[in-house]
Symmetry: C2
């Protein structure tokens, strides 16, 4: 049956905004619409006209909230649907002045001052260690893993990531490291345990810090690793290396220069460091739905924007690696584990929460695999640091040499 | 003997501007000066008070011109002297408003319009193939080499550089490549000969293009490589890959967006490319002496500045490698060969030219080893390109595996 003219026009408006995605939309149980000249690969069920109107008014928030409410149901694979939508989403779709203005207002509202950051971080990270332990790896690492070979498990890929970071930094025994934003402490403990480093790790999420301190005590590493419940802006002391994995996203664009000052206070002109963060291929905002419901105050900078942190004190950028595909894979592993734990999660946090987080994780997979999200690892050194590695061989050879020796001797 | 008070005050002013370098300055043959609290490692002989006054008026141009004229003589190793000077040069020494204003005026004067670029490029690159063949490698490659092992010769390191570029691009047989600024054609020929690519290579230096065409004919590669005497802005056609080695320096900051448009016209959203260029650790200008006497119109961007080329069309930055030390080594090899050919060079181009180029090459070594000069290789891909390499292993493993096999079997 054809859609009556009002509903039909509403649907056309939605597709005009979202691009000619290969999607059949079914409104209620009687009307449907597919953009002209496109063969539908997905079906979306929209409960009622009010939901449709919300989509027309504000596609970003409208879709996310309706999906979380169960007023929109996607039939078929959610990740593939979002990837298809990203491919047809018009290039400048969310760069119109109105969208830009609202986005900017959001940014000011969710400000990353000392107090604002605390509120923003607690919103996400203090959901409870129990929750995250249901779907993260054993070590509770909530950042992009490094699958140095494609068949690796998530657990191993997280260890490979930590080694990749430490090798890039060429960490030596007894060197001092400061970590800004340490999550549940896995990297700080890894650097101390496996590389003999002395680490001070900062985080403003109390739940995470307490978890990390328990681990340090249990492993007998509390003499080498100190977990400090404080904002990165209060980092004090002098260190050989600075590391921050998955924290720049929470710094906020207006604080990049100040972040550069914090780094310079910590390592001066002779230290080195590594920033690992979600970025973009051009300056843009996270979807407003993500910022409203999931990550208040978050911003993923373009590589150009992020350079404001490092160029302020003329740090040499030695190496930038883009691990975009590795983050798509990481999020895909998280999503599978999250779905497996769906029943207990829904029982404890409700169906709304379960659907909202499913959309967030699926959207992240699609964002890294098919849209403009990037994962940058930036290695840098001060203008008076010891000379950098001559080549990047050392990141790859030792493992490969072992493999080659095994394959020649066997 | 102590300097008389006027000369002494002039010397003090020079040192105040240049920082407390470990240098003893001898004026004429009777007065000398060393900054307080510093032990002199170098001696500079300044011929007369007029030269000293020129140094006070404008240290950058004053030193370069006086050195080239022979009115200033540096005793001892010139590179080491310049490295020491860079270490003590005050951080914001050439960022005062007056210096900035003059620098900016220079930039406008040496504009990189179609006509301005032709004039700027001819100034440097049309000095004659005979001249460059006296001190470049056999293949006439006038960009940073890649010493994949430290004991490599310059000739081998230039070949390793071309392979490094082709491997990063994962070049396949029959793929089409456009090269913007091809020098004497070595890379274009290498891609065609060793990787089976079809290449169009652009350059506005007539001497270089004619040399490159002869090589293509001699090697029977003129069916696969076309050398075009034209500006990069006139690139037409569609290609799988875009490559530019040592050309962005001549594009000029005000043309970065237009350069991004040229790239997008050439490879669209599905191609990939590589930019290899001299950069800086923060936005700044080349010394005015370099821009006046050696490289008119040149600008080395910070990584952040260079991103204006790629973010305009939302290219994914996949990999940035800093080959700073490799360029210091390359320039050092060039300087040694240049000095060896010093007699014929002075006989043909004069003593002024010989000293000016010695200073330029020695300053480049010091700039890459001890100052803020960087060499960035930036690999990028369009938002609809085939997926990038999963890791960077492929840049390192094949060679290393061979090496490991040899060392286990021998």
């Amino acid at each position: 049956m054809r859609a009556p003219s009002l509903d039909r026009r509403l649907l056309e408006t939605v597709f005009r905004a979202a691009g000619p995605a290969p999607v059949r939309v079914v409104l209620g149980d009687r009307v449907w619409f597919t953009p002209r000249g496109v063969s539908a690969q997905f079906t979306i069920r929209v409960r009622d006209r009010a939901t449709l109107l919300a989509l027309v008014r504000d596609p970003e928030i409208g879709f996310g909230d309706a999906y979380a409410d169960g007023r929109i149901v996607v039939e078929g694979d959610l990740v593939q649907f979002l990837e298809a939508a990203y491919h047809t989403w018009p290039d400048d779709g969310n760069r119109r002045w109105m969208a830009r203005a609202i986005s900017r207002w959001f940014e000011l509202w969710q400000n990353n001052s000392l107090r604002g950051s605390k509120r923003n971080i607690q919103h996400h990270y203090d959901l409870g260690n129990d929750f995250y332990s249901l779907w993260l790896d054993r070590q509770m690492i909530y950042t992009c893993a490094y699958f140095s070979s494609p068949e690796m498990t998530l657990e191993d890929a997280q260890i490979a990531k930590m080694d990749h970071v430490c090798r890039k930094l060429r960490l030596q025994p007894e060197e001092s490291v400061v970590e800004a934003g340490c999550g549940w402490g896995a990297l700080a403990l890894h650097m101390a345990r496996n590389y003999g480093a002395r680490v001070k790790a900062f985080n403003i999420s109390r739940e995470q810090i307490e978890f990390a301190r328990r681990r340090a005590r249990d492993e007998g590493l509390n003499g080498r690793v100190e977990f400090i419940e404080d904002d990165y802006r209060n980092i004090h002391g002098r260190f050989d290396a600075f590391v921050s994995v998955g924290m720049l996203e929470h710094v906020g664009r207006t604080h990049y220069e100040a972040f550069g000052d914090v780094i310079h206070r910590a390592i001066g002109n002779s230290g080195r460091g590594l920033l690992h963060f979600i970025g973009r291929s051009r300056p843009d905002h996270f979807s407003r739905w993500i910022r409203k419901r999931i990550f208040p105050g978050a911003h993923a900078p373009s590589l150009g924007e992020s350079m404001r942190v490092l160029e302020r004190h003329a740090y040499d950028v030695l190496d930038v690696e883009n691990l975009r595909l590795h983050y798509a894979r990481t999020c895909s592993e998280w999503l599978a584990r999250f779905e497996k734990a769906g029943e207990p999660i829904a029982a404890r946090y409700g169906e709304w929460f379960r659907r909202a987080w499913r959309l967030y994780l699926a959207g992240s997979v699609a964002g890294f695999s098919a849209d403009s999200l990037q994962l940058f690892q930036v290695l840098f050194a001060g203008p008076r640091a010891r000379p950098p590695a001559w080549t990047r061989d050392h990141l790859y050879t030792s493992r490969d040499l072992e493999w080659a020796r095994q394959s020649t001797t066997s």
